[in-house]
Symmetry: C2
Subunit: 222 residues, 2 copies
DNA sequence: CCTGTAATTTGAACGTGTTCAAAATATCTC
DNA sequence: GAGATATTTTGAACACGTTCAAATTACAGG
């Protein structure tokens, strides 16, 4: 067993660095936390952080991976609701709660949100797996609540709901009201509209409106 | 007349630095252009750029100011159209054209778009003047085309149209299709919907729908 | 002109994210 | 075990945005 001189922990260096980074990101914000600080808190030299992570941003990607692994368990209770409205509300509120400790540093990150070429963007190729896993939850919510949808809209509805939820999340990240009350009010009010529109969309009368929306989707996904 | 030994230009140092910066931003992108390069191209020491601009970002604010000054002339021709649809299309296309040389570096900037606390965001307090001047153009388009609107929606419609246009602009910035054709298709398809919705909103039947939207607006502006 | 004050300009220095050659350690092979 | 090879770790170095004390220039009043 060698000389038994191991000072801290032997193997999980990567995990220690990740933990130190996330802690500092939460405590002091993403930009404010330095790589030297992170390495210091993890008890290693600065350069070692770059042995385990390509960059400071790459640490965020590792956070995304963890999120993807943990979200199913976080969302599971929401799937108990048997109506679409209640389930969507529960799903989104569950995310608010889950992300709450990281709200501050997610703000610093969401700068990259709009740029699909940034790996940190939820629209990027890099995060496609996470995104699709997330969309699958909305797919599940639609089918398990037996939500009836027009044939032409059905294939897109989960993606639309995911996008809607991203908008709410973005609003929530920058929501400075106490306890993010504005976000919860917005969720409440907007969800009524979303559900109402989905009901309406089944009317034959709405065929032309659906066609317009489908044209839009076609262009956006082109 | 002193010793007449002035090597380059005597006074407009600030303008030279700004010009060098914008040229480099356009040629090589915002992040890629360094302050040392900018100063070098302007023929001054690095530190001097910080005498005239608080930061690299502050140079962008100066660009915004210039934009605000130039946009009225850019948009004026669009106001010749007498229908709202044609006028909005002309306004937005005029912006596409005007911003075209800066499309690349606007992309690097739009990271800050979502964060209202960043001075670079179109939603920030810093850019309020520019934003309100811009909204006024939509106000003008609505009144001069005699667009009839429900009393409850009228006070908000210009802001809504401005927001719609910001969305299109964001899409356009990241549009990698040839000649940004996707953006122009999206403009075309979405404008039809927007105009259609504005027509519809006048029906008494739409009162409840309007109330829902107004609730949303109230929360967003709270 | 000269002197003193204000505006302008410089370049070295700081802390940042990141890279990299070299050192230390672990693992494998005989 | 010994030697060779691969993995892990280090810390100095680089270019970046930014700051700042000091140098230079412009301009006042005598």
């Amino acid at each position: 067993m060698t000389v038994a001189r191991k000072q801290v922990a032997p193997k999980d260096t990567r995990a220690r660095i990740l933990e130190a980074a996330l802690t500092l990101f939460r405590e002091r914000g993403f930009h404010e936390a330095t790589m030297r600080e992170i390495a210091g808190k993890a008890g290693v030299a600065t350069g070692l952080a770059y042995y385990y992570f390509d960059s400071k941003n790459a640490i965020v990607l590792a956070f995304y991976d963890r999120t993807r692994d943990e979200l199913p368990a976080v969302l599971e209770p929401a799937h108990a609701h048997r109506t679409l409205g209640a389930r969507l509300e529960a799903m989104i509120l569950a995310k608010f709660e889950y992300f709450l400790p990281n709200r501050r540093f997610l703000g610093a990150l969401s700068g990259h949100a709009a740029d699909p070429s940034s790996p940190l963007s939820p629209f990027s190729e890099t995060s496609r797996e996470t995104r699709e896993a997330d969309i699958a939850h909305f797919e599940r919510a639609l089918t398990e609540t037996h939500t009836s949808l027009p044939r032409d809209m059905a294939p897109h509805m989960a993606k639309i709901l995911w996008l809607y939820q991203m908008g709410l999340l973005l609003f929530w990240i920058y929501d400075r009201s106490a306890g993010q009350k504005r976000s919860r009010d917005l969720l409440d009010a907007s969800l009524k509209i979303v559900i109402g529109l989905m009901r309406l969309s089944n009317l034959p009368l709405m065929k032309p409106a659906r066609r317009s929306v489908l044209t839009l989707i076609e262009i956006l996904e082109r």
